[in-house]
């Protein structure tokens, strides 16, 4: 099975700060990590490869520094790494990002399954997975918590819902976004680290993927961030006083109109 895993480099949530003036993320001095949900997608891809054979390619759109994260992905079991990087991609929203990734994937061409994390922890949009499936015109399943079986041209997965799960069967090629319940990502192996140090990472530019410049970066983005602000905390709060039985009586008085 040939699997592509889309990964994104994000600031480590442990030390994220907001610039008080612009209200945007201050990335200076903040360590960049692989988006945690993407780590689960990568682990699942490597497990599928171990079970069914095949190969895993990690793909990322990002600045040249994202190479470090791709090497980490190789140390965790990916076979190949592709970095799509170009100044023309700067300022891309999810619309322009899915366009860029879809063009890169068309260039890679040969795949059975694409796995993504359910969302990135910086933008939190959860739009790139489904958007990319739409661009590639392939079946899409969100919130995958388990991949049950892959037989011939079909694959079965469990989609996590609020009140249980759906069992979904789709034809390959398909795109899944995964939740963290799907697996426990492995620690990189020594041989993996040695391989990661040596591997040639394929680098693609806007020209390489034959992209329409009008659809890239800020120019190709349909959304614009007008303002970023911290929402005011709302919601009234009342403290009840007195003996426990008095408090219960007060609580009942407040709740009974709602019953």
């Amino acid at each position: 099975m040939k699997i592509i895993v889309c990964v994104k480099q994000v600031p480590d949530a442990k030390d994220v700060r907001l610039d008080p003036k612009t209200n945007t993320l201050s990335r200076e001095g903040v360590q960049a990590i692989m988006n945690p949900y993407d780590r689960h997608a990568l682990e699942e891809a490597v497990r599928l490869k171990e079970q069914y054979g095949g190969m895993v390619t990690v793909l990322s759109m990002g600045p040249p520094q994202a190479e470090e994260m791709l090497r980490e992905a190789v140390s965790c079991g990916a076979d190949e790494a592709v970095l799509v990087s170009d100044r023309a991609f700067a300022g891309a929203d999810t619309w322009a990002t899915t366009y860029t990734l879809s063009m890169a994937i068309k260039k890679i061409d040969d795949f059975d399954l694409i796995l993504c994390g359910k969302q990135a922890i910086d933008g939190d949009t959860a739009q790139v997975g489904p958007g990319l499936a739409e661009r590639l015109d392939i079946p899409f399943v969100a919130y995958v918590r388990k991949i049950n079986a892959c037989t011939g041209n079909t694959i079965r997965a469990e989609r996590l819902m609020d009140d249980g799960y759906d069992l979904v069967e789709v034809e390959l090629p398909a795109l899944f976004t995964v939740v963290k319940e799907i697996n426990e990502p492995r620690i990189p192996s020594l041989k993996g680290k040695m391989k990661a140090k040596k591997i040639d990472i394929t680098k693609l530019t806007a020209v390489d993927i034959e992209a329409d410049p009008e659809q890239l970066g800020l120019k190709g983005s349909t959304t614009q961030v007008v303002k970023v602000f911290s929402p005011e905390l709302k919601g009234a709060r009342a403290m009840l006083a007195g003996t426990p039985s008095e408090q219960v009586a007060q609580l009942y008085a407040k709740l009974s109109p709602l019953l």
């Binding site: 492995r186 620690i187 990189p188 192996s189 020594l190 041989k191 993996g192 680290k193 040695m194 140090k197």
Partner: protein, 385 residues
């Protein structure tokens, strides 16, 4: 301090550190309570390729030496000496095959040990044979194409968990020290069973049991090396493996130092963090000096052993004594710095203190090590005078 590790050696440290911080440290207190064998951690270590560190590439390993396994063990012991012991025991069980085994035995067993698919264990000690290894009573008698083993081995680390056992037995009592031979026994061999799991002071998640041989029959070709060479293989094995115990003292000492300094910075008495008091600072300073001195000696001894296969005993024994006596002292001091809190099981230092004691005892007591060093000195000065 910077020990100028190669890029590859630094990778070993990084992988072992990640396993330690993400898996061993969070589980160590529970493993100590339940005394459960740390299977999932050892599986992660196997998946990370670390079981093959010291095994030549032709047998599926990574081709490193004593120094490489020392680097990994140091990290594991910083987290939990019980887990580190369970990991190290497989190497101890594998060394006799690597050192004296035939090409066939190496081809058969080393790749399985290198990828962690099978664990090994080393069986020397008996009820009447501890420091005095010549008291061994387990026997092996050739019967047609099979050796028949009878006897009981005691306090065997990894017993019941390992699949491959390297066992010393008497094959000719009349020949004294030249009458012992080593064998490979597999867990499925007929007549082989285990005693109950021992209840220990420390390293409680590691498995320690008896091996019981009752007319245990094994194929003739399971002899390690030549018949009668068992003691020589044992001595070479222990020379090779002792820096692995020494480094457990360094890792454990470092873990205790980390806990003590972190606590001393937070704990406020008389209106100040206790690290601001000279009485506490001096304890911490002495701990740090000893841990670093231990590390420097063990690293040097490990490198010496990798370079001088015929001159290992003194370096091996010296680093074992120094680093494990150090670990005992440093962990006692760590409990003193944490004082009442340190005595409680809510903090990890009391476990570290309990774990430290075994390091002065197993793989040759520190008194026996001093005998070895003394005898080596005697030989050296005889040569030079």
């Amino acid at each position: 301090m910077d020990y100028f590790l190669s890029e590859e050696q630094q990778m070993i440290v990084d992988v072992a550190r990640q396993i330690t911080d993400e898996m061993i440290v969070p589980q160590r207190a529970e493993l100590d309570e339940t005394e459960d064998y740390p299977r999932d951690i050892l599986t992660a270590i196997a998946k990370a390729d670390l079981y093959g560190l010291y095994i030549p590439e032709e047998y599926g390993g990574l081709g490193g030496g004593c120094f490489e396994i020392v680097l990994a063990l140091e990290q594991f012991a910083r987290g939990c000496t019980g887990v580190a012991t369970a990991f190290a025991a497989s190497a101890l069980g594998a060394y006799p095959i690597l050192i004296s085994g035939s090409e066939e035995l190496k081809q058969k067993y080393m790749p399985l040990i290198a990828n962690g698919e099978k664990l090994a264990a080393f069986a020397l000690t008996e009820a009447n044979a501890g420091s005095d290894a010549s008291g061994i009573q387990t026997t092996a008698v050739l019967d047609g194409d099979e050796w028949v083993l009878n006897g009981t081995k005691q306090w065997i680390t990894n017993a019941g968990e390992a699949q491959i056992y390297t066992v010393i037995a008497i094959t000719d009592k009349s020949k004294g020290p030249r009458g012992a031979t080593m064998f490979v026994v597999e867990d499925t061999d007929p007549g082989f069973s285990y005693g109950v799991k021992e209840k220990k002071l420390g390293i409680r998640c590691s498995s320690t049991r008896e091996l019981i041989f009752k007319d245990c029959r094994i194929p003739k070709d399971r002899v390690i090396g030549r018949i009668g060479m068992g003691f020589i293989t044992v001595m070479k094995t222990l020379d090779q493996s002792r820096p692995g115990i020494a480094i457990l003292g360094v890792g454990l000492g470092q873990g205790a130092l980390d806990e003590a300094v972190t606590y001393a910075k937070q704990r406020v008495q008389f209106g100040k963090p206790i690290i601001s008091f000279q009485a506490v600072q001096h304890i911490l300073a002495d701990m740090a000096i000893q841990v670093e001195a231990g590390r420097a000696l063990v690293y040097s001894a490990a490198k010496h052993i990798d370079a001088h296969k015929n001159d290992m005993s003194k370096a091996s024994s010296m680093c074992k004594v120094f680093a494990t006596d150090m670990a005992m002292k440093v962990t006692v001091d760590a409990v003193q710095v944490l004082a009442g809190y340190g005595y409680m099981r809510d903090y990890p230092v009391e476990k570290m203190m309990r774990d430290a004691k075994i390091l002065q005892i197993y793989e040759g007591t520190n008194q026996i090590q001093r005998n070895v060093i003394g005898q080596e000195l005697n030989k050296e000065y005889m040569r030079s005078s």
